[in-house]
Symmetry: C2
Subunit: 602 residues, 2 copies
């Protein structure tokens, strides 16, 4: 089905959750103006719709295949990548210093949503390259930076992240890939990595692998991990492609979804060892990897938004077209049959209240997640671009707080909305040809990779809540309270019960945050037991507040009536879950702790 | 992975939600005793584990295929069906009059769960045959009954349900398949049916299709639909197989899941017309079909339980085995390393609180759904077997009330638990080889077929709540209130906050039921807008109450400590959602009604 970038919704998110006008007025974004931002997003939307979206279904059917050690991507993939690179879309977020266009994170994020909504399996590839750039920019030495960054920024080469091993997934401390020091200052790597996205392909002349490994004398666990850059082909002094490095793709996984994205088993050092260069200091690789992962986590959250939006567009089109049953909506159009109860005067299913509930849930969840991701990206921009060091630090803390929520909440939304999309199609939804099933399959990886959503929740509770003794989360909640006050003061009848529901939600978040803060000190296991419901509570409340800001802007400026309906629906129908989540967190932990593995049948 | 029937959990459901001991003591089940019930379930469990479960993964990979108009089921399928029939498993629920074993619905339901947990794609086949038997027993004439019922009951032939057409899914009134009267009293059918499960196969010598069609002079809509029995092969007077009837399988759907179950496009009357016999009266076919569908709806609910249980067993085994990270649980076992933070002393992931929360959610949701289905099946038994006509009528009303909840709540649980199962496996969950992904794919059909869950919710609100002026639902809620009182009176410290949480849930259900009752009279669109959250609220509350009864029994009799933990977890962690659902229903409808198709972008 055709894809159309949701430019208006994106702009509303940028202007409210991202404070785009304020950032522009303050000069944070240099000479950029809102019209240019919109123009870039529209142009990206055209590219996504015209080039990437048509390859999504065929890519799913064909998949990437391993033939004689080479990965063959689906037909059209190589041409699409070439056009993507030539169109300047890879270099969009890169720093001007490295040949990039230096556009803000918020714009890059909107474009990222478009690539992934058009074609998730394609969109993953540049996302990983960006992660590699982040790591190299922050910690690469001069040789590494000038050798690899410009090629990655331009898209001439792509990048990968090599973390997981068969027995080291969430627990990176357990990894065993070995790196041996060489007299010339390089290293030789030996080991097997799994789940390496685009670990091998022929889209570009070279692939830049970032690989976690352990030196022979490294301490055990996470404090003994180093990061290396290992190119598929060694690079000559003049920047040209040299000899093949000792790294091969030994297999592709047969996956539930994203079939076109090759998920590789990578073998390093099957012969003399794969030549690598250290990034950052020895044994300090995890810190560098976290930089890369944090950026990637926001990117994965955006993938959740993207998938949700695509599933929503698909379902909405079907709901307008498919006719079943007779709704209670009066048919006033001339000539529409009023008929008897049994007359075949079928309504488009969008006229049925239950279907509208589903569509409103899909829409408002998607926009809430988009706004959380946008707020995170805007904070990232401020952390990079503000001239005030205190503001930079504050913004960085905000990024740290919101990143696990952006990742986990948005990807849960992706799965839930994709599932609703299948359901809305009825029996047709279960037929692969319809397309809804692909979104349901593709979406399922998002809550898993770049740190499972359980890991995100634990990160939120154990690392982010305690930041600056709780002041980071308190400042955020105080901001939400100001939104509640604004909604109350606005006195808009069209807002319905929005103010009360949002106020209850913020109270619930505050109560749960305080409870968890205390639990962390005296009973950490109880805090861990509440991590997943807390992240949900956080996402719902933040999402509801951002939607409310969008509604306030819409009411003030007299546009986007659907933004008001979405915010109101979300408040009255979904924020109602927040008090219960707080009760779960504060009253449900004991039984989780007391139910041992034995009682679980373990 | 191996499957083991959850016999203890099933027996607890039978004894509490199904009041098995009471039913036996009253003689409702004739000479049957609880030991025999358990023995039958155990034996079924062995058959499922040994014969059906090993075919589940290969069946998914191979799928059923259409070759020269014949459906080829996966290797082993035919032998398994033969063993299934020969073992007497098909005839288990059939009436003794027709050669069946006459076992109660509650036992048949437990067996049905086992077949579907072992192999959902296989379990569908006998489920549909049973639906056909129900329709023929209730409305077939003498010729039809003696020709078809014994062969269906024994499993010698299988049955199908032919409802859906390309433009008539949820709205059966729109169907166009034509039936023409013949001078000999038979009919000739012409038309195309889609989504016909096991519409064609070679497992048995004949297939008995039940087909909805329209007579030439029939009124439009649902009041002009008749039901016909149309065999694949005509049956000679002596019961032997005669000529091929004019019905063919024209194609198989390429589906998201249940690949081994052939989903057929059936063409009736490509030549002279398919010969059929009327079941029930002309133009009254829908009423007969509803008998069949209601039984099938409970069966599909049981499939939801089955799939959830299978996904749970699979995830639990992984959680016990997979080691990642270090939990906060003290390792007291001799020799287990305490080590430093970074020492690779990894815990099985079941020791992590967040994983235990997931497993407890999966377990308690599964058992709650099982109990709701068991209560429905027990009511069905009472409706058939009680000697008191008033009790029979009351029980039949209870069946009517609970059937949409059993279907929709349990199948939503199936999808949710299967999704959690994938998540619990981390990256491995997304790899098809692991097996968790198949459950996620297979489960997705369950909320769709036999009436989408949205249709179930609408049925619950618009047809079941008004039954006997609301007295049916009131009587049910009064029963839940007695459970609340029992839990309060039990005064068990191990129950934690169970009494309060359950009381709140029952209050929420009562409030929402009353609100919907009023809305139905004055603003039906508002009632429809709340249908889906109401069904969820109903399922959670009923499930929580049944789990609490299980906990009471366990506490009283000093067994099954996990039943107490499950009920408490469900109450403290999941019933917390009920107040919010009531708020959604009573306060969230206006925005759903006001948001027209245009505002939705429609």
């Amino acid at each position: 089905m055709a894809y159309a970038a949701p430019v208006d919704d994106m702009m509303l998110a940028l202007k409210t959750a991202g404070d785009l006008d304020g950032m522009i007025a303050r000069g944070i974004y240099g000479g950029l103006d809102a019209e240019t931002v919109r123009a870039v997003i529209e142009e990206a939307g055209r590219f996504g719709a015209e080039v990437l979206a048509p390859l999504n279904t065929p890519g799913d059917r064909t998949g990437s295949k391993l033939v004689d050690g080479k990965v063959v991507t689906p037909p059209g993939w190589k041409e699409a990548y070439q056009a993507f690179k030539d169109g300047g879309w890879v270099s969009l977020p890169g720093a001007e210093k490295w040949g990039g266009q230096g556009l803000p994170e918020v714009v890059s994020m909107a474009a990222c949503e478009i690539w992934n909504a058009s074609n998730l399996a394609f969109g993953l590839c540049p996302l990983l390259s960006q992660g590699a750039v982040h790591a190299l920019v922050s910690h690469g030495d001069d040789y590494v930076q000038r050798t690899y960054i410009p090629k990655l920024v331009s898209g001439e080469w792509t990048g990968t992240m090599n973390l997981t091993e068969p027995h080291a997934g969430s627990d990176l401390g357990a990894l065993t890939t070995r790196a041996e020091r060489q007299p010339d200052g390089t290293y030789r790597l030996f080991g097997t990595k799994i789940f390496i996205t685009y670990g091998e392909h022929e889209l570009t002349d070279n692939i830049v692998h970032l690989v976690l490994a352990r030196l022979p004398d490294a301490p055990a666990g996470t404090r003994g991990i180093s990061l290396f850059v290992v190119p598929k082909f060694l690079v000559n002094a003049d920047g040209s492609i040299g000899a093949r490095n000792d790294v091969v793709c030994a297999g592709l996984e047969h996956k539930l979804g994203i079939h076109a994205s090759p998920t590789c088993v990578m073998k390093y050092g099957e012969n003399d060892g794969a030549t690598g260069w250290l990034v950052g200091e020895e044994n300090r690789g995890l810190a560098v990897m976290f930089i890369m992962m944090n950026a990637a986590r926001l990117g994965v959250g955006v993938q959740g938004v993207a998938l949700a939006d695509r599933a929503l567009q698909h379902a909405l089109a079907y709901a307008k077209e498919r006719r079943q049953g007779r709704s209670l909506v009066p048919r006033v159009a001339a000539g529409s049959p009023q008929g008897s109860r049994d007359a075949p005067a079928m309504s488009p299913i969008i006229e049925h209240a239950d279907v509208r509930r589903t569509l409103l849930t899909m829409q408002s969840m998607t926009q809430a997640a988009r706004m959380i991701c946008t707020a995170t990206a805007a904070a990232l921009d401020l952390a990079h671009l503000s001239t005030d060091p205190a503001e930079r630090a504050q913004a960085q803390a905000r990024v740290a707080l919101l990143t696990p929520v952006a990742k986990a909440f948005s990807t849960d939304v992706g799965v839930e909305v994709a599932s609703m999309g299948v359901q809305l199609h009825g029996g047709m939804g279960f037929i692969e040809e319809t397309g809804a099933a692909q979104f349901y399959r593709d979406a399922r990886i998002l809550p898993i990779y770049e740190g499972t959503n359980g890991i995100q929740a634990i990160d939120l509770v154990t690392r982010k809540l305690p930041l600056e003794n709780g002041r980071v989360v308190s400042a955020f909640i105080a901001e939400l309270e100001r939104t509640v006050a604004d909604v109350k003061a606005s006195n808009q009848p069209a807002f319905g019960r929005m103010a009360d529901r949002l106020a209850d939600a913020v109270d619930a978040l505050k109560e749960a945050s305080m409870w968890l803060g205390r639990a962390l000190a005296k009973n950490p296991e109880a805090a861990l037991a509440g991590a997943t419901p807390y992240l949900r509570l956080f996402g719902l409340t933040a999402g509801g507040a951002y939607l409310a800001r969008g509604a306030l802007a819409a009411a003030r400026e007299g546009h986007s009536p659907h933004a008001i309906a979405q915010a109101r629906f979300f408040a009255e129908n979904l924020l109602t879950a927040t008090s219960g989540l707080a009760s779960t967190i504060t009253g449900g932990a004991d039984v989780v702790i007391e139910t041992t593995a034995e009682k679980l049948g373990g």
